[in-house]
Symmetry: C2
Subunit: 339 residues, 2 copies
């Protein structure tokens, strides 16, 4: 038996045992990602093995690239009537508002039963909270507790947990990628997770249109603030002409961040009525969440986002102005434009 | 003590112990990659700890992106006078010609002492051969044997071994990514390998020019043979106008291979006097090594390359003709051109 989360696992077992025979909602954040969907799928299957019935809920549908783990699970997008009296188990949500504004309002009266998460900014908003901010992913925490408790992890559960870890570590590239992460993944592979299959589903299934959209994004890239910031934009025209859908921009901002010397990478995407901005930094000191917050967004110190009602060019001006302040550079001054 | 390679490790210990006090050449293949350089660096350090002196040799210089592991090691590019009497330890070389045509000729008289490799096509060309074709990387084999033998693995050695595994598994994405791979990586992290630092060095250090070159490659992509093949080209003009160097195309071909439905991805690069072709497949049945061999190249079933004296457009015609045969499609017939 493993001992990954000695402070949590015994309490977790008690929390789940108390739910036997009941039905709960496992809810993740809006615009769900691999760690969110992976956590929901895995927890659903673990709970059912413990005699707990589950409904999975997200404000937004599961992305195409994650359907391979989600399609067998009881995902239910915003069927409020079915769930308004059920207790909530939050996964991968730093606070209760992450489930989306409308969902949050509608479920405000539900019991906030459990909060299982790895965000450092987690506000411990539920009756019982399992928050491990040193973990790379909520899926690392869930996998570790399940292994500690000797719970059966079948192949699909292992696949879901591995997916969450692989995506939230940026393919084993972020600082939280610890020895324990690899140790847990080794066990998940023994349980039936197939790294090649999962990697193919996540990263090797590009619609041709996505590569054409990436070409547009790369074409738009500019380096400014003395080489410290790289940003690019995608317009409605780009999406239309490449016949791409919005979720295909996943990961694009990492190209901007990956440029030698760049501290903050940015993508701005023109949606139908709003403009979406995403910021990424390698160094947590950049606190891109604070930059995003100035324009109504939020997130992590190294990864943040916002949704704005400004026009694309207005947001470009405002966002670069805020970014510039991070480098103690005079308001709005762009020192060098490479392209 | 671990037991990763019980058939190899005791024999490996004996082979190395017999070299105590001697000097050997640790030689890798031409155009060295992460697993080649990682193996050379790690083996050098392991050998020195066992009292064996080492010269590292490659026909081509270490790529920029791998200098972070190589710069402290005794790499010596083609200083034949120094090494012509020394025994050779080959790493990551399927046969003795992989060290490059000129090097191969000059060192034909040296003793072929050890052959440490993971290629299925390895010809067991040395006096003693350690070939594990089920391993993801030569570095997996080296790490496993060192751990089996309880040899000290310091931080830089761990980093080198991890680099080889990470690159040769395609960031933990290829089929050889086993439970053992993660188990070994967990230990390497304990020994001091820092996944985030390594990942940053390998994948997050893009010269801006590389992204502009990628933009050109994406722009050139065409899908043919009923969606089964995606190929793109880079001309001398592309390299010149983006101010890129040849090694910056590393990984580009994976974009072509990643398109939904594509079985074979191809890149053709116009060099000064030759054209370089690289082929990648997800499925080993594609045997892209056989396709490359038709044009004077070779490699693995899923990853192969060639260097041709044909012009870019001649190679495009010839290579697509050979690729077409793989799909039992009439000679040279391109069924659909998306772009």
């Amino acid at each position: 038996m493993s001992d990954y989360f000695p402070d949590f696992s015994p309490r977790f077992r008690k929390s789940i045992e108390a739910l036997s025979g009941k039905t709960v909602v496992v809810i993740g954040h809006a615009r769900p990602d691999g760690d969110c969907i992976g956590s929901q799928v895995a927890l659903t299957r673990l709970l059912r093995n413990q005699g707990v019935e589950v409904v999975c809920v997200n404000a937004d549908p599961c992305p195409q690239s994650l359907l391979f783990i989600a399609e067998e699970s009881p995902f239910d997008v915003l069927n409020f009537e079915r769930i308004e009296a059920l207790p909530l188990i939050f996964v991968d949500c730093a606070d209760e508002l992450r489930i989306g504004p409308e969902t949050s309002k509608r479920l405000a009266g539900n019991e906030f039963l459990l909060n299982i998460d790895h965000h450092i900014s987690n506000t411990n908003y539920a009756s019982t909270n399992f928050v491990s901010s040193s973990s790379s992913a909520t899926c690392e925490l869930l996998a570790g507790m399940a292994l500690d408790l000797g719970w059966e992890i079948d192949a699909l559960t292992a696949e879901a947990l591995y997916t969450g870890i692989m995506t939230d570590t940026g393919r084993f590239g972020y600082v939280a990628t610890s020895s324990q992460v690899f140790d847990i993944c080794s066990t998940l592979v023994k349980c039936g997770a197939e790294p090649a299959k999962i990697s193919n589903n996540l990263y090797e299934n590009n619609p041709f249109s996505r590569l054409k959209l990436l070409e547009r994004y790369l074409n738009s890239l500019k380096v400014c603030f003395d080489g410290k910031v790289c940003y690019g934009v995608l317009t409605q025209k780009d999406f239309a002409e490449t016949q791409s859908v919005y979720e295909q921009t996943e990961g694009f901002v990492d190209y901007a961040r990956s440029v030698v010397g760049v501290e903050i990478g940015i993508i701005m995407e023109e949606r139908k009525t709003t403009v979406k901005g995403s910021l990424r930094a390698e160094n947590a000191q950049m606190r891109v969440d604070q930059i995003a917050a100035k324009l109504g967004g939020g997130g992590h110190a190294c990864a943040a986002g916002l949704s704005s009602n400004l026009s694309l060019s207005e947001l470009e001006t405002s966002l670069l102005e805020e970014v510039g302040k991070r480098f103690d550079i005079r308001k709005g001054e762009i020192i060098s434009d490479v392209k």
